[in-house]
């Protein structure tokens, strides 16, 4: 599976939030979007998912997908983990297969939803209400919902922001596993550059609504790029066998 993005532009009024961005995301590899707050990561993902008006083209395996049709093929998981809903955890996961749900829900589908929760050790929460569980658990539930949907493209906005260390690793390992096994195109916005370096096959550095750099971590996470994007001084440490670690030093006044 290949997702093509051609000259994508998003405007809020007169302001251009995303400007003429073109790129290609491959299934089988994990793509991470990095950039400072306000760089346009969330807007970019939402526009690709067809949830924001935009100009330009999005293609799947070369075929253009209209904005209104993207929801059927592209799953998007927003960043917000707040909840005012008393839906149960299992019901939230079931909603991932919205198009398969009718007045009667097949018993097998309920079992599949429980099994999907089980992948992240959350099957015991199946009857808990969404507003009763922690923000991190909610974030996992929304991720499980998206995976349960088995989409062709999965876009995630900060999917690990509320997770503990163990679950951060579990989630990113699972996403790598899914994209490798199914060829699903998976792209995620990440603030944690070290996680991005460790798990992503390809990084896209967004700055002021444009792609500043893209490629493997060692090409994107350079001291120059980090200084230009975040306004920080940082050391890039290479760890054996082939890992890379960003160590921020200071944020000089601009």
């Amino acid at each position: 599976m290949t997702l093509g993005i051609e000259t994508l532009t998003v405007r809020y009024g007169a302001a251009r939030i995303i400007e003429d961005v073109s790129d290609t995301w491959q299934g089988g590899e994990l793509t991470a979007l990095i950039g400072c707050n306000g760089a346009g990561k969330s807007t970019f993902l939402r526009a690709v998912a067809g949830l924001l008006p935009s100009t330009g083209r999005v293609t799947l395996d070369g075929a253009a997908v209209r904005q209104e049709d993207r929801g059927a093929q592209i799953a998007y998981v927003p960043q917000d983990t707040g909840a005012t809903s008393s839906l149960t955890v299992l019901e939230v996961v079931l909603l991932g297969r919205l198009r398969s749900l009718g007045l009667r829900v097949p018993s097998g589908l309920i079992d599949e939803a429980a099994a999907a929760l089980d992948l992240f050790g959350l099957a015991r929460l199946q009857t808990r209400r969404l507003d009763e569980i922690s923000g991190g658990q909610r974030q996992l539930v929304y991720l499980i919902q998206a995976l349960f949907r088995a989409p062709r493209v999965l876009l995630l906005d900060e999917p690990t922001s509320a997770l503990d260390l163990r679950h951060q690793l579990l989630v990113l390992e699972k996403l790598k596993e899914v994209t490798a096994a199914t060829g699903t195109v998976i792209a995620l916005a990440l603030h944690d550059l070290n996680l991005a370096a460790q798990f992503a096959d390809r990084l896209i550095a967004l700055h002021d609504g444009r792609i500043r750099a893209s490629g493997p971590a060692e090409e994107v996470l350079t001291a120059g790029n980090l200084n230009a994007m975040y306004g920080v001084e940082a050391d890039i440490v290479r760890l054996p066998p082939a890992r890379l670690q960003v160590m921020p030093i200071r944020a000089p006044a601009r």
């Binding site: 998912a49 949830l51 929801g71 059927a72 799953a75 998007y76 998981v77 927003p78 917000d80 909840a83 005012t84 809903s85 008393s86 839906l87 149960t88 299992l90 019901e91 939230v92 909603l95 991932g96 919205l98 198009r99 749900l101 009718g102 007045l103 309920i110 079992d111 939803a113 429980a114 089980d118 050790g121 099957a123 015991r124 199946q126 009857t127 969404l130 507003d131 929304y142 919902q145 949907r149 260390l165 163990r166 579990l170 440490v237 760890l239």
Partner: protein, 359 residues
């Protein structure tokens, strides 16, 4: 020099439950639904039995199950006098219960009710205007006031819709447009009352109280048709409505056309509320409280929530109808007053219990 601290591999989790817990929860919810049906049957019989000429429960049951074996007097009381009122109570309760559930879902607000968008004020204005002017339909004079109330509800719906549509039917804009419409029609209603002579004013005020005494076999089928059409119209959207409880952004992210859904449900709410208010006047709190009872007992799955909200609405209306007849023997207190008297303490209970607990 670099020091790396590496944590050990994670332990395996505890033994895994199947979907059995969820299935048990669904069974408990179905039991609540059955309890709602049982209460509905008992209250229906109690409502038919109560009134100035009290009937025994066995007489009512016998008249309903085998009318030919009941005395002619009992048949007349049950079928010609009491049953239309009971049916109207049931249908109005169902309409307001479902309309309230829809409003709370599409506005994402636990305090929303069918009247949040100014529909009751509009209906009140329509009715008051016809009572003041004495306008009457040529061949169907009994339909003049209900039709005016219904028409004004729809006018309010169109006004709110036009404003909200310009801003993508966002809940905030819908509520703001609804409040503006509410004040506009309340002011118009007050003006009509100000202009009315004392005896006309009394008729207007009685209409505004809300009463089931206007129910008849002529108007019950109309409300029944409104409830049936509105129910069928939402059946294909039950899971989309369930998804909307995750918020508009998340519902959109899983493929719900949120704006189109809000528009469709808005029209259904306008229809349900207009149909309910047109024949019985303004009946408060049923549309606010019934969805909360439903949510507390059967959760947010709209396949169960909507029937339960309809049942709870019908049960509240039937209980209020019985109370309105027994609280003051020989007289019937307007049911709108009784539902408010029951509803206000319940609302306080919900607030004390914690606003978010069942939302």
């Amino acid at each position: 020099m670099t020091t790396t601290v590496r944590a050990g591999a994670a332990d395996a989790g505890p033994a895994l439950p199947s979907a059995g817990d969820y299935r048990a929860l669904v069974r408990r919810r179905l039991l609540w639904l059955a309890a709602g049906v049982a209460a509905f049957l008992m209250l229906t019989v109690a409502d038919i039995a109560s009134g100035p000429s009290m009937l025994g429960i066995p007489d009512v049951v016998q008249a309903l199950l085998s009318p030919s074996r009941a005395s002619s007097m009992t048949r007349i009381i049950v079928f010609d006098i009491r049953l239309p009122v009971t049916c109207m109570a049931i249908l109005v309760g169902m309409a307001l219960g479902m309309a309230g559930a829809h409003m709370q879902t599409i506005l994402g607000n636990p305090l929303a009710s069918p009247y949040t968008l100014g529909f009751s004020a509009a209906a009140g204005f329509g009715a008051a205007l016809v009572i003041l002017t004495g306008l009457s339909l040529p061949f169907l004079p009994w339909l003049s006031i209900p039709l005016a109330a219904f028409a004004m509800c729809l006018v309010a719906g169109v006004v709110v819709y036009c404003f909200a549509r310009m801003q993508g039917m966002s809940p905030e804009i819908m509520v703001l447009a609804g409040i503006a419409t509410l004040f506009m029609f309340q002011a118009a209603q007050s003006l009509v009352q100000y202009l009315a002579a004392p005896e006309i004013l009394q008729a207007i005020v009685f209409w505004l109280f809300g009463s089931l005494v206007r129910a008849s076999w002529s108007n019950v089928p109309i409300v029944a048709a409104v409830v049936a059409i509105s129910t069928v119209a939402v059946l294909p959207s039950l899971w989309q409505l369930t998804a909307l409880r995750l918020g508009g952004a998340r519902a959109a992210a899983i493929g719900v056309n949120v704006e189109a859904l809000r528009i469709r449900i808005f029209v259904v709410v306008a229809l349900l509320t207009s149909g309910a208010v047109a024949f019985v006047g303004t009946i408060g709190f049923v549309g606010l409280v019934a969805p909360h009872i439903a949510r507390m007992t059967v959760g947010e799955d709209q396949r169960l929530l909507l029937p339960m909200a309809a049942l709870a609405g019908a049960d509240i209306m039937l209980a209020a109808s019985v109370l309105s007849k027994v609280v003051s023997p020989g007289a019937i207190v307007p049911i709108g007053i009784v539902t408010a008297v029951i509803g206000v303490p319940f609302l306080f209970f919900l607030i004390l219990r914690g606003q978010r607990r069942n939302w």
